[in-house]
């Protein structure tokens, strides 16, 4: 995969824009997922995907291939996400609740289980999604990268330019916060009520 990416990058640098389209098709979903879990709504996430690939195209000559292309994209996308979140915080114009209403994730496939069970599962997923969005941004980004994008701690450290120990600490604190916010769900499970 990385060799294919390297070849597509090389072709793009030689002027073949169709090769860059291949990279976009390959990775737009991952970038969108990161953006969606960080920003919480579909519209901003779509804009961020576009901006990430535009910036990546412009700076492609600086991509040194010591990390994977996806890791490099995540670096650009996470910086843009953090900028966006800070800008939002500064404006404080929109409440998070409104944004979340706009960008609900699609309902999970109800065919895999009964409709009642699927509804409960969707509700839990919604609660988890909200809990992630309520984390401070520095904790949110590590949780999303580690547990949703399945990146290694070392890769996260490289992308965020943080020491590995700091990433682990942020992960631990983020999970503890999530545990606190998901306490009602966890207690329901412990009490034997199916979730």
């Amino acid at each position: 995969m990385e060799q294919e990416d390297a070849e597509l990058v090389r072709q793009t640098l030689c002027g073949n824009t169709a090769a860059y389209n291949g990279l976009v098709l390959r990775y737009q979903r991952q970038v969108y997922n990161l953006a969606y879990r960080m920003l919480g709504n579909a519209e901003d996430s779509g804009d961020l995907v576009q901006e990430t690939f535009l910036r990546a195209y412009g700076a492609l000559a600086s991509f040194r291939q010591d990390a994977s292309f996806l890791t490099w994209l995540y670096k650009i996308a996470s910086n843009l996400c953090i900028d966006q979140l800070r800008s939002r915080k500064a404006k404080s114009a929109l409440s998070l609740d409104v944004e979340l209403e706009e960008g609900r994730e699609p309902a999970a496939d109800a065919r895999a289980c009964g409709p009642e069970e699927a509804a409960v599962r969707d509700a839990v997923q919604e609660i988890v999604h909200h809990a992630i969005l309520n984390l401070p941004e520095k904790y949110r980004v590590v949780v999303v990268m580690r547990h949703l994008q399945d990146m290694s701690v070392d890769d996260i450290a490289r992308v965020l330019e943080l020491p590995t120990g700091t990433v682990k600490t942020h992960l631990f604190r983020a999970r503890e916060m999530l545990r606190g916010r998901l306490r009602p769900v966890l207690e329901m499970e412990t009490d034997g009520k199916p979730i």
């Binding site: 843009l80 966006q84 939002r88 997923q125 949703l148 290694s152 412990t190």
Partner: protein, 319 residues
Amino acid sequence: MENRFEHTPPEGQGGWGAYVTPPAVPGQQQNNAGATETQAQVGLCAHVQDLLPALIENDGQIRPEMATTLYGHLAVCKACAREFAEMKRVIQMLAALPPAEMPMDYSGLIMSRIQTEMLSVPGLVAPHPTQAAARPGFGPSVAGAATDTREIEKVIAVASPHFATGAVPSVATTTRQAAGTTAGFASAASVTPQTVAELAQETRTTMRTRERLTLAGIFSALLALAFTTTWGRALLGANWNGVSEGAGQVGDALRHVPLLNWLTVLAGAALSQAGGLVGDTYRSLGSLALQGLALDIGLCVAMYYVLVARRQRGQRLGL
């Protein structure tokens, strides 16, 4: 997906039951006294709970024998077992979140924006010198500039300054403006390796300078008119006489305030004197029309450089 739970207990042998007699955890004290035992147990649980995140992450910090010991403790300690189960459950909940479904395929939009916003503006973005050289409109100096990645990143950053504020569409506007202001530049056969953004900034600065020079010229002409015409001089003289008289009246009024008597006398005299002095000065200048005009223009130019040019420089530096 990497296995984060490599250190799993042997479920086939009864799960936690396999560890009903756990080996000693480092730091654990064997003590039979009731209170001391409880204290030691609390300390032990705290120690185990500190290690649980590393056990969950399976990050190499926990050796196999330590993992066995920890699982042994979890088998007999309900509090720690619950803590561990909750940590794992949170991670499972996170992992169970489905990937968000993209509302559309962005590739067409991205490639179209690359074509219109980046490739259609010579000098704005050239991912590689070979591409720059291959495309018409790129002179060698632009190709050379394109190899400087810092330059490229700067251009991209400038071309998309509003994303952070949420105004993404303005990227296109900015780029089009930049392209428009440098239309002549784009068609030139030999171009300098300046970026479009810098050129646009320079153009804006030049326009501001022209506007301000024009205003300064109009202002100078009005002042010159006031100084050099009879009615202008009379107007200024009358005004300064009025100022002088007004200042004198203020001084007189303040003199009647008991506590400030001596001070108001001085202030009134000073104001009156100053008013008279300024009035006389302006009348003298007015009588010397040519000198007045020269002084006026000189003052305006000096004011322009001190106030306007300094501000422009600050704006250019982003201050």
